[in-house]
Symmetry: C2
Subunit: 142 residues, 2 copies
């Protein structure tokens, strides 16, 4: 037991380790903490990040990539974490989930459309390029 994915995984990280791994600045990580997205433990003053904190950071960055604001990310992460005592909260959460799902589906469609158009443009580009190279065999590659 005590696999690397154990909840009690004792592995910890420093702020710079995480910064390097995820290609963000330490400033960014502290900023996320200010915003309530991360709550690392402390050893004296210095922040100590657990595997769980690492996952949280990963989720924040993924959220950003799909177009969520930090506030929205926090909202979702809070919902995830909280043991919701009330039915109202659960309903609210289901609403939020549906809403988010719709947005993501829409985004998927947008991306597909965009990729198709990019393909078209690329084809046109390559065609033009070929034509140009035929017409002026002395290519202008400096």
């Amino acid at each position: 037991m005590n696999s690397p994915m154990d909840a009690s995984d004792p592995t910890t990280y420093t702020i710079t380790e995480l910064a390097k791994e995820f290609r963000v600045t330490t400033r960014t990580i502290r900023f996320y903490e200010d915003k309530g997205l991360l709550k690392p433990a402390r050893n004296g003053l210095t922040r100590v990040y657990t595997a769980r904190d690492r996952v949280h950071l990963k989720l924040v960055l993924r959220g950003k990539r799909i177009g969520l604001s930090l506030d929205e990310v926090r909202e979702i992460m809070d919902m995830y974490d909280s043991a919701p005592g009330e039915i109202g909260q659960l309903d609210y959460m289901l609403d939020k989930l549906a809403e988010r799902r719709a947005m993501l589906h829409r985004q998927q469609q947008d991306i597909e459309l965009t990729l198709k158009e990019l393909n078209k443009i690329e084809a046109q580009c390559r065609q033009r390029l070929a034509t140009m190279l035929k017409q002026t065999p002395q290519s202008q590659v400096s």
Copy 2:
């Protein structure tokens, strides 16, 4: 001839019409013009939008939804519009396209992952909700 999708489609739009249709403010549309994303004709002072302008606006909004900055959107639209006289420009554009494609693929993966996790969360929610309703048959629906 002269189908509704004809390039010489004479249909025009006012700024408020477009604003309503796309659920943005007129301020936003003018802002996009300031940024060089739209170049409507003018009738005296008032802006007159053609079907082509409408498509441009649509592209801008889709671009935003997939996480592009307005500058990036303009860059792409410029590339699209320009009859690129130089091979260098075409190469540059192909680079940009590849880069963008990679980003979109990554986003698709992010979205899939996120949707999967949302499904998990929702299942947990529903389960809890069911459990709670069993334990306290007098549901608190006010």
